[in-house]
């Protein structure tokens, strides 16, 4: 069972009452997860789990110690506090210590939906059964993952702050492969409200991509104009909003560092069609009421019409730099202040280009330029004279994310959709993008 606000308050107060240290923060969490995984058109594994946790961080004379446990009875909590205090007494001074927050006021975020938390096993089996039938009917081999979770927890400080939040999430991804193994399609969507998850649409999109991707041709790698579906954008920059770190930029080790120990704040680093922000209360993508360090979250713009507007200051670094800590980000939203285009309009306006469904295995190659490598996967098409001409085999790319969104390279921007990164990570609101240049560096025969 998830903990209630009253239980979280009681437990965190209890932990703090056991603390002898000068300052402390205590956290308590609980979660429930349930999943069904299928592959080769058959049920694979399915399970549920419940979890809970407590943690405490204490400071004694400016020295810090932390401990955690998943046993919430009094004796375990007391042992946990003693452990943290013992660590603190034996630790060197914590030079980054900032007193814990006093009472804060949070504006609640609505991201908990009862129907998601109370997922019915029978309903889920029926939905996945219908998907298996659809896969069989279309003569493709399917695999997928349905997962639902709910969590509730909060934290309290010795200086009088308390916060509690709960949320739910549900997601489904489906991969369809043709029996000869020459084509594969994928589709993923997630939401906090199970009623908004259209499971059959996810299956059908995956099947469509697999069927339309047959007889793919190989073309030479190189620099091409690309149209990236929202999934491909999410795979590349799904967590981009969290990367605007002030400290690394000011320390001279980030793509946002400038020569002479400066940063690129205020510079037009991105195309003017690009605005990136975080909004805790966005109805389609609720974030969290609490940003880093427990500060009440706010809507915060990182990039405004291409200009780098904000870098993320944590409480310690803000104090060092005599500025305010940043109340976010808690999610990533990319949109344009100009007109949006549909995927069809992007295709129609393209003389020669490549349409990408998804990227995979993206790894950083150069932090100085925010460059990474990775591969296309599950659907690539050649676009010619305003139409999809034929499917392509996969590519490896090497590309700077910042240059990809850089001035002059963003040609068209779609309407943001709620998407999740296919390599994990939370949801984000991202549009399809048409980009002037994207660097494919080798062919990949993988399907």
């Amino acid at each position: 069972m998830l903990l209630t606000e009253k239980e979280v308050r009681t437990l965190t107060e209890k932990i703090l009452s056991m603390v002898n240290a000068d300052d402390a923060t205590a956290g308590v969490g609980s979660n429930k997860q349930s999943h069904l995984r299928f592959a080769a058109n058959n049920v694979l594994t399915s399970g549920s789990r419940e979890g809970r946790s407590a943690n405490v961080t204490v400071w004694i004379g400016g020295k810090r110690g932390s401990a955690s446990t998943n046993d919430l009875d009094d004796a375990s909590l007391k042992a946990m506090v003693e452990q943290a205090e013992t660590i603190a007494r034996n630790a060197p001074p914590d030079r980054e210590y900032v007193p814990t927050l006093s009472k804060q006021t949070y504006k609640p975020v609505t991201s908990y939906v009862e129907a998601t938390a109370n997922l019915s096993l029978t309903d889920r089996a029926k939905q996945i059964g219908a998907i298996l039938s659809e896969l069989e009917k279309n003569n493709v081999i399917g695999a997928g993952f349905h997962s639902a979770s709910s969590q509730a927890g909060g934290s309290a400080t010795k200086n009088g702050n308390f916060e509690f939040e709960r949320s739910t999430g549900v997601g489904l991804s489906v991969t369809s492969r043709t029996p000869d193994g020459t084509s594969s399609g994928y589709f993923l969507r997630s939401h906090h409200d199970i009623g908004k998850l259209d499971t059959m649409r996810i299956a059908r999109e995956s099947i469509r991509k697999a069927l339309e991707g047959r007889n793919a041709r190989a073309i030479e790698p190189g620099i091409y104009t690309v149209i990236l579906e929202p999934q491909a954008v999410a795979d590349l920059i799904g967590n981009f909003g969290f990367g605007f770190n002030a400290r690394t930029a000011e320390e001279g080790r980030s793509v946002f560092s400038a020569p002479g120990g400066k940063t690129k704040l205020g510079e037009k680093v991105f195309d003017e069609k690009v605005t990136i922000y975080s909004d805790p209360w966005h109805t389609e993508l609720p974030g969290s009421q609490s940003a880093q360090g427990g500060i009440p979250a706010q809507r915060i713009v990182m990039v405004d019409k291409g200009v780098l507007k904000n870098l993320n200051y944590n409480r310690f670094w803000a104090k060092q730099k005599n500025t305010d800590p940043t109340p976010g980000p808690v999610n990533t939203i990319l949109e344009t202040s100009g007109p949006t285009s549909t995927l069809e309009e992007m295709i129609k306006s393209t003389e020669r280009g490549i349409l990408v469904s998804r990227f995979w295995y993206i790894r950083s190659t150069d932090a100085r330029t925010a460059s990474s490598t990775g591969l296309t996967r599950d659907g690539v098409w050649w676009v010619e004279n305003g139409k999809i001409a034929y499917p392509l085999k996969n590519f490896r790319f090497n590309q700077s994310t910042v240059k990809m969104l850089g001035p002059g390279n963003v040609l068209m921007v779609g309407k943001p959709e709620r998407v999740g990164s296919s390599e994990g990570g939370g949801g984000s609101l991202l549009p399809a993008l048409k980009l002037k240049e994207f660097n494919f560096t080798s062919q990949s025969e993988a399907v």
């Binding site: 399915s46 492969r177 080798s442």
Partner: protein, 532 residues
């Protein structure tokens, strides 16, 4: 509320601890007592009898406790010192050929019965849509109590000793002119695992892992350039002796010097080069291009939705030439120090050692009891693993190691045979496609080889190749004296995602005529060259 024996032991342990010894010792002992005091066999009987009553043809219960201690520092300060423990159980049932699983942190007989009933309900709900029933190959009933090899339990080491080692590492790096930043950490992990299954097996295992790391960064504020070099040593299944047997401070000083050198090193010219890959780098190439493709679940399309499938298929067993005749890969769950070494896997199959690639030929798979059945085998190689009591166990990689040459070949001998090449140390950026054909790997430090000798440092190097072409180009291996056993403590796979710790022993090896690209050329021209 009744006062249970478990409460009594915990409270007594804490009280005694406060009186005599540092309390963390008694914190650990109190929690140890909880784990030891739980009557695991009685819980197991409750799970398995309940599962059988509900129609399970197979059932298992894992009652596990995990301890983690983490110390992390930067420059001359400690950033985090934390300690955690996590205890609970998970029950897996096979009903009508369909798996069901449920898990809980409340370790009581009543909860075991409730959770087993939930696992059975999940299996039954899903069996209505099951197309083909899961079947298991048999394995003998086992009773065992096993501890991994270690000399000093890291959980008995005072925090200040760990901090002192890390700050010494940092100081060594900061002593090098041009180094501005250094991070270091030690993570210690203890898994205490109990497995009981409906075959009658009862197995307890106690595993210790130590994962140290550091990174030294040099910055040039005038140009905005920066370069980092990380530790070349990797996690092992070993105790705290790892931190004192190796001279970490000396390695940090060298890494710092290399980070400063990297700022001024020439950027590589893309093209074809021979490569000599040190074990600190090669192990991850093995992991990605050999470890994952030989996982049978991938070939059976079980990972198609996430990690991907494999270019290998069952019909290629014994037929596909994976590499040159010098290439031998052995999967091994018995290798001392290997992160994936166990006495038994998570469904009661003993740890084993077997060839995946023999004399260059692909000969066998990594299997579990359900996957082995699907390729007509009558036994499993014991590759089932879960990263928590709350995770569903599924096929995970054993240690997969490249066998050294029989002859006494040194790394310098390999370099001597290279006219134009690059020597690579350390793990850098790794990316490989979902069927494990096309990969691109970077490293930590890169050294130009000309005329059989290392002539200087290079930077911005990555190589890109195709798995079988790459291993086919291997023409030199170091001997036993050059063999090392690096590993990765966090290999991700599966849905929900799970982590696995795995090692890949290897000597240095030489590869001919490999495609090298420059990872920095995109930073100025907006494009990256990749010659093929």
């Amino acid at each position: 509320m009744t006062f249970s024996r478990r409460d009594f032991i915990k409270t007594a342990g804490i009280a005694l601890g406060a009186a005599s010894l540092p309390s963390w010792v008694y914190y650990a002992e109190a929690a140890d007592a909880v784990y030891a005091e739980v009557n695991k066999d009685a819980l197991a009987d409750a799970a398995i009898s309940t599962a059988k009553r509900l129609g399970a043809s197979y059932a298992d219960i894992r009652i596990n406790r995990y301890r983690l201690e983490a110390v992390s520092t930067r420059e001359r300060q400690v950033q985090n010192l934390s300690s955690g423990q996590n205890f609970g159980f998970g029950v897996r049932v096979l009903i009508n050929g369909t798996w069901g699983f449920a898990a809980s942190p409340i370790v009581t007989v009543d909860e075991v019965r409730r959770i087993t009933t939930e696992a059975a309900a999940i299996a039954k709900a899903n069996s209505a849509i099951t197309r083909r029933k899961i079947e298991l190959v048999p394995t003998p009933k086992a009773a065992a109590n096993w501890k991994s090899s270690f000399e000093r339990d890291p959980f008995d080491v005072p925090a200040e000793e760990k901090v002192a080692i890390l700050l010494k590492i940092n100081e060594a790096a900061l002593g090098v002119k041009g180094i501005n930043f250094v991070n270091s950490s030690i993570a210690s992990v203890n898994e205490q695992k109990y497995l009981a299954n409906s075959d009658g097996s009862r197995i307890e295992q106690y595993i210790i892992r130590t994962s140290p790391s550091f990174s030294a960064t040099a910055t040039d504020r005038s140009t905005g350039d920066f370069q980092a070099v990380n530790s070349l040593r990797e996690a092992q299944q070993i105790g705290f002796e790892y931190m004192t047997k190796h001279d970490w401070a000396a390695e940090a000083r060298t890494a710092a010097e290399h980070a400063v050198m990297k700022l001024k090193a020439p950027s590589v010219t893309p093209g074809k080069y021979d490569l000599v890959l040190h074990p600190s780098h090669l192990f991850l190439t093995i992991h990605e291009s050999v470890g994952h493709p030989t996982e049978l679940d991938r070939a059976l399309l079980w990972e198609a939705n996430y990690a991907g499938t494999s270019f290998l298929t069952p019909d290629k067993t014994g037929k596909l030439q994976y590499g040159s005749k010098m290439v031998n890969f052995v999967a091994d769950r018995t290798q001392s120090g290997g992160l994936a070494t166990v006495a038994y896997d998570d469904e009661g199959v003993p740890g084993q050692s077997w060839h995946l690639v023999k004399d260059g030929l692909f000969v066998d798979w990594q299997t579990t009891r359900d996957t082995a059945k699907l390729i007509g085998k009558n036994k499993s190689y014991g590759c089932l693993h879960a990263d928590s009591w709350s995770s569903v166990p599924f096929p995970r990689m054993p240690n997969v190691s490249l066998q050294p040459a029989q002859e006494n070949v040194s790394q310098d001998d390999l370099i001597a045979g290279v006219d134009k090449g690059i020597l690579i140390y350390g793990r850098g950026s790794y990316s490989i496609d979902q069927q494990r054909y096309n990969f691109q790997f970077g490293g930590q430090t890169f050294w130009e080889i000309k005329g059989g000798k290392v002539t200087g440092m290079l930077r911005d190097v990555a190589y890109q190749s195709r798995t079988t072409d790459f291993w086919g180009s291997l023409d030199g291996l170091g001997g036993q004296a050059t063999y090392e056993l690096p590993g990765s403590p966090n290999d991700g796979k599966g849905e929900p995602g799970q982590s696995n710790a795995v090692s890949h022993g290897c000597p240095p090896a030489r590869f001919r005529n490999i495609n090298v690209l420059n990872t920095a050329s995109g930073s100025t021209a907006g494009r990256m060259e990749d010659h093929d």
